[in-house]
């Protein structure tokens, strides 16, 4: 079969395109297929998740309230100058500070993507110093509750002392 575009070379690439539910099929030679950008030859970055993410950001918030961006008075990050519309466009934030500035808009989106908006995992050892202690206290408090429920009062007293020790460190 000859290429449907140039009608010269042998068609070796079968292209199926689905645009708005409409399927079109063409047979092209490799040269035309490359020109058409029809085939990924492994050199282009793949389709990225953040594109969907940017779309999510523009969705109405839960509760049906549509997101309105009023012109002229856009929210802008004080630290890096990144704007909300830039985020909507590329699905990335400008700096760590953006997480605070756009917090109210980010929260529902994080919930939708991760099913959660609170980190419960690893804490950096050096820079997270106080946070590590706070997390340890939280964990111990949970253990304390379990110990009390099981009526293991000696163990509970031990845990209580550990908590007190850590709380002193925080002061």
């Amino acid at each position: 079969m000859l290429c449907e575009k140039c009608q010269k070379k042998q068609a070796s690439v079968h292209v199926t395109k689905i645009v708005n539910g409409e399927k079109t099929e063409t047979n092209l030679c490799e040269t035309c297929a490359q020109g058409e950008n029809a085939v990924g030859f492994g050199f282009e970055p793949q389709w990225m998740l953040q594109n969907i993410f940017a779309d999510l950001f523009n969705q109405p918030l839960a509760g049906g309230q549509p997101v309105t961006v009023s012109r002229g008075e856009q929210v802008r990050c004080e630290r890096c100058g990144f704007t909300e519309s830039q985020f909507s466009k590329i699905g990335k934030l400008g700096c760590a500070g953006c997480y605070d500035i756009f917090e109210t808009k980010l929260d529902p989106v994080l919930r939708r993507v991760h099913g959660n908006s609170r980190h419960t995992g690893k804490i950096p050892k050096r820079t997270g110093g106080l946070i590590v202690i706070k997390k340890e206290i939280l964990d111990l408090k949970e253990k304390l509750q379990t110990a009390i429920k099981k009526e293991e009062y000696e163990k509970a007293a031990e845990i209580r002392d550990q908590i007190r020790g850590l709380e002193k460190k925080l002061e």
Binding site: F43, L93, L110, R118, H119, K122, I123
Partner: protein
Amino acid sequence: MSIKDAVHNAYSKWMEGTGPDRDVVISSRVRLARNLNNYPFPHFMTKDQAAEVIHAVRTAVSQKEVAEQTGRLEFIDLSELTPIERQILVEKHVVSPQHVSDPANRALVLADDESVSIMVNEEDHLRIQCLLPGFQPEETWHLANRIDDLIEKTLDYSFCEKRGYLTSCPTNVGTGLRVSVMLHLPCLVMTKQVGKIINAMSQVGLAVRGYYGEGTEAYGNLFQVSNQVTMGQTEEEIVKNLLAVTKQIIAQERTARENILKNNRHTLEDRVYRAFGTMSYARMISSGEALNNISNLRLGIELGILNNLTYNQINELIVLTRPAFLMKKAGRSLDPEERDSLRAEVIREKLLKAKAN
């Protein structure tokens, strides 16, 4: 071995073809996204800031303790490599396609055996990646975690108590962890069960995609399973979840293989030997055809039909037949037809050597 050497040979730790469950799992990968405090995210940095970040990371990874975990590390600015060399690193799974798409102001740290790589100024300031052969997501995570601890000793990460590790794209925020395994699922594809699995995975926060190609029409029957959720679960929970689910996929693939072998042994053997024939004699092979035949050869090893080939040789074939590797071998850029004939030549040579052994 230096990075300049790395782009000349088809060796990478993951390609050794060792490791647990290697009949189904090719490699396990962990990637941690980390950013430095006090700098905008990479896409929003000035050139000077990018250079400062590169310098800071370079200093941090030069600590003696880091090399004790990873073996000798080499640091290179991406702009020092040619476009083909950069593409080869993608074909070896050492860096992401995004990282080399725009090499300016970006760098790479690579361990000698290529099991550890750190991309600097990709989507985040640091992308720490560990890649091991076979099914060992937990070991891979522990390695990445230790390297992360060492780097954090000297670098101030962007971290917030509530949101965790802050990343440029909120899809990675929290743990910044992406753990994935590459699976060879020829018999689940043959029995048309892969579609069902892809749907089921999305319900448990995991994604499955074809490694080469898209959806269920993955070339080479290679699929990557990875976590989608990075927040609200601990790293251990994320890794264990992926581990448990992947175990089930492995079991299903093995069951499918046994069933086909029991009921249609001839069909399966025919498929393997046809692939062997084509690969041994063809004069032109496209990249997709090569991947599909490589899959059949791998299946031949997995089922004990082919005894003179090894997993290592199969993994090498995957990488050696990718476009940039072929162009590097030829020493010039090749049009698709030239590529197909060089690809066939490379495959013939490899298989001839295998037969001689």
